[in-house]
């Protein structure tokens, strides 16, 4: 009886709320501004008759792919018009209160970047090395992706990890040392996760056992790892660098067939085993986090530890195991700085990448795929910055290097949709 009355009285309310729901113009306006930049700057200020040249092949390619040349101004007028059309579509959809597909922002972004590149490279005599740039982007993303995966496993169980930076650095250090001592880069790959896991274990001891504020522990652990590695670097590693810190490099293992695909082949499939491991880890995390018993329990512990406890899940044990496991992932990512690139260890060589990884995790909304794409975006903007600073462009490279951080601030300030961390994130569980 009462359920019936509930239904009757529910209808008019739902209606009322949908008509009152405000039209959200944040995105359409952003798109419109960007389209206007494309038309008003990129198209209008591309010198008439200028051409922009792209190198599509890798420098090492057997067959030289010819340079692609596009006329700057006409290309950018076309691209600008396309961007304007996408912006208009966004307005239309917003007024209809309908969602746009995911293809929209992706297409918009690709076109905008293309327009930017055409403008930036116009009439400079230099060639924009597309494959080199993309390879660089992936390379810069590798530690970010590993770090972001580490961060999200930890936060999904409710432990905030600011120590990703330290875990990357520790991984880089131990990978270099182990690879050097055993004169084998693959030994470095085995050692690196151990270093990351150790930092993770310290985090757990203080955050879970002693319930110290997790952000504080993370900050301090970063200082500790920097101090330890720098100290050992200046002493042991420099005293006998031949033994302790000789360069070792993981070989590239091109995947047959796949690596032959133009442009993306050499970028994605002519990599070291570390990068392939990264693909596997992202894929596995994505599947297991949402489809497995492990993932269900991890998320339960991070969202509502007490509820998890009442169904017999040991909250603190789950957190302990997973944070240490996550640390191993970050440690593995740290190996990229040394054995992954064939470099010796250097002081503070992680250079803040751990914090960008954290940003990628947030921007990717604690989802492995999202975090990966965010990390790739950050890697790309840095690579773009590096490329542009060598060919010389009107935009200072620092601005591009700042971009990941600025995007992240916009993200957490809610400009790119609501970011919702796991509910019990950062809260120690006291039974």
């Amino acid at each position: 009886m009462s359920t019936e009355t509930v239904a009757v009285h529910a209808e008019p309310l739902e209606e009322a709320s949908s008509t009152l729901k405000p039209v959200n113009l944040k995105f359409p306006i952003t798109y419109a501004v960007m389209a206007m930049v494309a038309l008003g700057v990129f198209a209008l200020f591309s010198p008439a008759g200028a051409v922009t040249r792209f190198r599509l092949g890798a420098p090492t390619d057997f067959i030289e792919i010819p340079l692609a040349e596009v006329p700057a101004a006409p290309t950018n007028w076309v691209l600008g018009a396309a961007l304007a059309a996408l912006a208009v579509l966004a307005f239309v959809r917003a007024y209809q209160r309908k969602r746009l597909g995911r293809w929209h922002p992706v297409l918009f972004g690709v076109l905008f970047v293309a327009a930017f590149l055409v403008w930036a490279g116009a009439d400079r005599g230099a060639v924009i090395p597309l494959v080199t740039m993309l390879t660089g982007a992936l390379a810069l993303s590798v530690p970010l992706i590993f770090g972001a995966m580490c961060g999200l496993v930890g936060e999904r169980t409710g432990v905030i990890n600011i120590a990703i930076e330290g875990q990357l650095l520790a991984g880089a250090f131990l990978a270099a040392v182990a690879a050097s001592v055993f004169v084998n880069a693959y030994v470095g790959l085995v050692a690196a996760p151990i270093a990351g896991a150790l930092v993770g274990a310290l985090l757990v001891v203080f955050a879970v056992k002693y319930q110290v504020n997790q952000i504080i522990v993370g900050v301090v652990l970063n200082v500790l790892v920097i101090g330890l590695t720098s100290f050992l670097f200046s002493t042991v590693l420099t005293q006998n660098s031949q033994l302790w810190n000789a360069r070792q490099q993981l070989p590239r293992l091109p995947v047959p067939v796949l690596s032959e695909i133009p442009i993306i082949g050499p970028v994605l499939f002519n990599q070291t085993i570390l990068v392939y491991l990264m693909y596997v880890i992202v894929a596995l995390l994505y599947v297991f986090l949402f489809r497995s018993r492990w993932g269900l329990r991890v998320r339960a512990v991070g969202e509502h530890p007490k509820a998890a406890d009442t169904v017999g899940i040991n909250v603190n044990r789950t957190r302990t195991i997973n944070v240490i496991f996550a640390g191993a992932i970050a440690g593995l990512g740290g190996a990229f700085f040394t054995v992954g690139q064939g470099l010796a260890f250097g002081q503070e060589m992680s250079a803040g990448q751990g914090f960008i990884a954290l940003a990628a995790m947030i921007l990717g909304r604690w989802n492995p795929l999202g975090a990966m794409f965010a990390a790739l975006l950050f890697g790309f903007s840095t690579s773009l910055g590096n490329t542009l600073s060598t060919i010389g462009t009107p935009v200072p490279s620092e601005v591009l290097l700042m971009l990941p951080y600025i995007i992240t601030i916009f993200a957490v300030a809610g400009f790119v949709g609501r970011v919702r961390p796991p509910a019990a994130n950062g809260e120690p569980y006291v039974k």
């Binding site: 504080i216 914090f355 940003a359 957490v412």
Partner: protein
């Protein structure tokens, strides 16, 4: 449940029983009881924990120094033949390192003149000035429930503003310094304010925003240092002109000492923060939002405004720290001018338990470690990075008193086992 009753409870924790035991004689038992009581009293006072944390950190540092020293390593290679060599060398190495650390930080008994002997303590204060000022800025955030990790960026902005005013403007002596300091305050306040306003208006997590702002500040400074209108040097070096004499913080003890008026600023700021937090209505609001923002809002506190203010004031103090560092010590802006002061300031605030006096003392301690570390590196070749290890170990231990008590077999301060206290907490919940 009073303390009295608690103390009569039977022992439960391992720490309790190890300190109590069950001695046969009554007299012995009494003595043990007194000792137990004294130990409990001891571990109750937080400064004892702090002291023990420093001891543990020095021990860890000592082990590292031993492990990394080539001479010790060579004695270790024939350890089983002559173990004494190993131990005496180890002892000497650690003693040398720490005694030079002490001589560099407090008093150098090996210096030729009295002036040179007492110089180290003034150097300690020189390093302490920015740490104290920025530490106070961070501490205000902690007290108000805001984790400001952005000291680094706020310092950079303070340096930038203060420096530019310091060398690009031409003003009379007092006014120039004052304006440059105000510039530093403004720069830090803007950078903190961005995080504060975003937190207040959109709820953006201040930890993330301030971390991001640190990196943005770094690139901003790198860019500025490439702009001729900014550096005004006429060269391509990534550094600025030195600030004018009129904008420098004057030295206090004349030539031979670097200690400058910044220390007076630091003392004044310490008093100001104490008054603000403990005596003013704004401080009441800030502490209220720190403890329970919902209740504060219900009580009529404008939480958004207070949130923004916390980070603005905190940023201003960090900016002032940066300004004092530049105008008193460095004079020229370089890309790495902020060093790690911003992160050190976090540890300073933590070690000082976010109280003004504690932060001041913690700043002096860490300043001493830095000043001493410089001499230690120069004289014994022990890298100054060891100071980072000492700092982080100290802060980690202080944040986890139970760990320190476990290391030194001290009883719990309230004589209760951890699990029992937990259960009591539940009981309160149940009873409520």
């Amino acid at each position: 449940m009073s303390e009295q009753n608690e103390k009569t409870q039977p022992k439960e924790s391992a720490a309790d029983s190890s300190a109590e035991g069950s001695p046969p004689g009554a007299a012995l038992k009494e003595a043990e009881g007194r000792l137990h009581h004294a130990l409990r009293e001891l571990s109750q006072t937080s400064w004892v924990i702090s002291l023990l944390a420093v001891v543990v950190a020095l021990a860890v540092g000592g082990l590292l120094i031993i492990a990394a020293h080539p001479q010790v390593q060579s004695t270790a290679s024939y350890f089983f033949a002559r173990p004494a060599d190993f131990f005496t060398t180890s002892f000497q190495v650690v003693r040398d390192a720490y005694s030079s650390l002490f001589r560099g930080a407090v008093y150098d008994w090996q210096a030729p003149t009295l002036q040179r002997s007492i110089r180290p303590i003034t150097e300690t204060l020189v390093y302490a000035v920015p740490l104290i000022l920025a530490g106070l800025g961070i501490a205000i955030g902690f007290r108000s429930g805001m984790l400001n990790i952005g000291g680094q960026g706020q310092i950079i902005l303070g340096v930038t503003f203060a420096g530019f005013i310091g060398y690009a403007m031409d003003l009379p002596v007092g006014a120039h310094l004052l304006l440059a300091l105000m510039g530093g305050i403004l720069g830090g306040a803007i950078w903190g304010g961005i995080a504060g306003v975003l937190k207040a208006r959109t709820g953006a997590n201040e930890v993330i925003v301030t971390i991001m702002l640190n990196n943005i500040a770094l690139y901003l400074l790198a860019w500025l240092l490439r702009q001729q209108w900014f550096v005004q040097t006429g060269s391509n070096q990534p550094q600025s002109s030195p600030v004018e004499e009129s904008a420098r913080l004057f030295t206090l003890f004349g030539a031979g000492f670097r200690l400058h008026a910044g220390i007076i600023l630091a003392i004044a700021a310490t008093f100001f923060v104490w008054w603000l937090m403990e005596r003013s209505t704004l401080g009441f609001e800030l502490r209220a939002i720190g403890e329970n923002p919902d209740a504060a809002r219900t009580a009529g506190v404008n939480v958004a405004k207070a949130t923004a203010l916390v980070l603005i004031i905190g940023g201003a103090l960090c900016g002032l720290g940066g300004a004092a560092h530049l105008l008193g010590t460095e004079y020229r802006i370089t890309a790495g001018i902020a060093g790690t002061i911003g992160f050190d300031a976090i540890t300073v605030a933590l070690l000082g338990r976010s109280k003004p006096l504690g932060t001041f003392l913690a700043g002096v301690l860490f300043g001493g470690l830095k000043a001493g570390g410089v001499l230690m590196q120069a004289q014994t070749g022990t890298p100054i990075d060891i100071v980072l290890v000492l700092q982080s170990v100290i802060v980690l231990l202080i944040a986890a008193p139970p760990l320190v008590r476990a290391i030194f077999f001290l009883p719990r301060p309230d004589g209760r086992s951890r699990s029992r206290r937990r259960r009591e907490k539940q009981a309160e919940e149940v009873a409520a």
